[in-house]
């Protein structure tokens, strides 16, 4: 069988962080809850195989939160659904490794996955208008997972469901249990989806753009609710968003995706303070924040996102990067790791002088090695 991708580089992201006890000795006890290593996902389509995710690696310890950001189509959803192995099996091929609590999920049987789904790993989906079953009452939808995994009587399950609805701040929970999804607002439905996800107290919660489809006014409420339950129950959480602002204050670690790859990762604050990968920096410049002076123009990233399935020889971001030099077009940047637990895929990390020299040279020529026009005003405005 042909490999989906060259295993030329180690998994992106830091190796499992050395767990150290207060006295400085490695404790060696708690292995990370989730270790994704060199994960690739390919879809069979009528037009041939499409590689939607490549070389993905990440490590998530118990109770920690990881943010995954990137533009639409960068492979964020494919990443979380691949971790959960929730993509319909036909025509989908995975490679690499997803270890959850020491157990390999990619080769686990379907029966084994059903034991893990809902009970140990749960998911909150993007659009609450389409993720609840239109023909079933809310009570049925909440108790279903409970009764699948726990030895509860119908009354006990009903009682749990009631308390779950209370815990996600749904007024009149007893009445709501008897209602159908179409009788509720989007924000309320997403709370119910959250209640379903946390019903069996999973160890890992995957939230795939949980607020994208909601009104701005309820977005914060839903995110707060997720954070509350995450910390209260000590769940590990992966929070996927295209919105940096959503993940910046709510996650410990951050992974930035571009064109089916994780291009930068590390502690959230460190990555946002001083991005190493030009794509992360560009994404930050294009995000509105309150501390930017009024009237500041938001930067846009020139060009179109590279579709994940497109094969290129060099860096996947090179065509849109103003630092790009010849090497970026000919050689794929390997995964580099820093002592601070950060990882990036770039020949010219932004903390080095090489990046500034390359930018100066590109400015002098008026274009990058990939032919992208760059001018002084772009840089001043953006930087």
């Amino acid at each position: 069988m042909k490999r989906l991708s060259r295993r030329s580089t180690p998994a992106l992201g830091h190796r499992p962080p050395e767990q150290t006890a207060p006295d400085g000795r490695p404790s060696g006890t708690s292995a990370p809850l989730l270790v994704v290593d060199d994960l690739a996902t390919e879809f069979a389509t009528p037009g041939g195989p499409v590689l939607a995710l490549r070389n993905a690696g990440l490590v998530l310890p118990q109770g920690r939160t990881l943010g995954v950001v990137g533009e639409s189509g960068s492979g964020k959803s494919v990443l979380v659904r691949s971790i959960m192995r929730l993509l319909r099996s036909r025509g989908v091929r995975h490679e690499g490794s997803v270890r959850f609590d020491g157990e390999e999920l990619l080769t686990a049987s379907n029966a084994r996955m059903r034991k893990i789904w809902g009970d140990r790993i749960a998911m909150v989906f993007q659009d609450p208008m389409t993720t609840l079953h239109p023909n079933h009452r809310i009570g049925f939808q909440i108790t279903e997972a409970l009764r699948e995994h726990l030895p509860l009587s119908p009354d006990e399950a009903q009682d749990r469901a009631l308390r779950l609805l209370e815990s996600v701040a749904i007024p009149e929970p007893a009445r709501r249990l008897r209602q159908y999804p179409h009788e509720m607002s989007g924000g309320m439905r997403q709370r119910i989806v959250i209640a379903i996800a946390i019903a069996c107290a999973p160890d890992l919660l995957l939230a795939d753009e949980p607020t994208t489809a909601l009104d701005v006014t309820v977005q914060a409420q839903v995110l707060d609710l997720l954070s509350l339950h995450q910390s209260r129950r000590g769940m590990a959480m992966i929070l996927v968003s295209h919105d940096l602002a959503v993940v910046s204050s709510r996650t410990d670690e951050l992974a930035v995706m571009y064109s089916g790859q994780i291009v930068e990762s590390g502690p959230t604050a460190a990555v946002l303070d001083a991005p190493l990968m030009p794509y992360t920096a560009a994404l930050l410049r294009s995000t509105p924040t309150v501390d930017k002076a009024p009237g500041t123009r938001l930067h846009t990233i020139p060009g179109e996102p590279l579709p994940p399935e497109r094969r290129v020889t060099g860096c996947r971001f090179a065509s849109r990067c103003r630092y790009a030099v010849e090497r970026c077009l000919t050689t794929e940047p390997p995964l580099a790791a820093t002592p601070g637990g950060r990882g990036y895929r770039c020949h010219l990390p932004l903390d080095g002088t090489a990046a500034q020299e390359a930018l100066a040279a590109n400015l002098a020529r008026g274009r990058t090695a990939a032919g992208l026009a760059v001018t002084e005003t772009d840089v001043v405005r953006g930087a």
């Binding site: 893990i116 789904w117 809902g118 998911m123 989906f125 389409t130 997972a145 699948e148």
Partner: protein, 326 residues
Amino acid sequence: MKNGLRSIAAPRSARLLAFRVARLAAVLLIVTLGTSLLIDLVPGDPAVAIAGETASDAVIAAVREQYGFDQPILQRWWEWTASVVTGDLGESYSTRRPVTTLIAERLPVTIELTVLAMLFTVLVAVPLGLYAAYRSGSWADRAINAMTSALIAVPSFVIGLVLVLAFAIGTGWFPASNWTYLDESVPGNLSAAFLPALSLALVEIAIITPILRADAVATLENDYIALARAKGIGTARLLFRHVLRPSSISTTTLLGLALARLFGGAIVIEFVFNLPGLGSLLITAIRSNDLLLMQGLVAFIALIYVVANFAVDLLLVKLDPRVAAE
């Protein structure tokens, strides 16, 4: 048109219901008018059939007048309808017995065949269609598709003959013909009904399986199915509790049509298996030029047909709570 305004103001479901009732009445009207025309369409003179080939012209004319064959069609229809409304379908010319009695005698056989065939259809087509959808693209899906495509092209009476050859004459497992009534012997009755019901059902299975499969394939793409899978529930539960209902709109419509079609199909199959149902009664009526019996039977079968469709329409509203809420 004086209640036109009120009907516009009425709730959508009530207007829908009124429309369906009106359609039901219109279909019955057209069918009964058509059966009243039979006298002009059927070859041979019914008066001759009743009076006998050797009867004199005067006798034939008297019979014609007695039975009203000489009256215009609307008049005949009106008189027939007026008595039907009181529950009187008239008397069979050939047997001199009330048509309603004849129908009542034969009806249980046809109903049993129809119900059994319906049962077979649902029990086979639903799991088969759901499974094919769940495994779409697999060899199992392709095998099911090939099987149903082949079956759909074969009329039920041909299937019936093949089944008789294989399982009645060939192996002797089932009787090739002859009916055993339920009160005579339950196993005997089921054994007699099995092959004819199966031949009726196979065609319906071939029609319904691919339709349900197509709808279920679309349903499986929904987020709420991903959520259901993410709960860790088993495949059977996923398919029957989550996929079936949202995929069942076309299937329910078709099952309603199937019910009516099975009822009609039973008539042909009864002939193949020589069973004492409405079908053989209808054929007897046609052979003996028994107009009133024909008219009563056709009207009765039409009534079953439209009522079945009407029931399906009501059921469809029930299937989707969003429709009922409007």
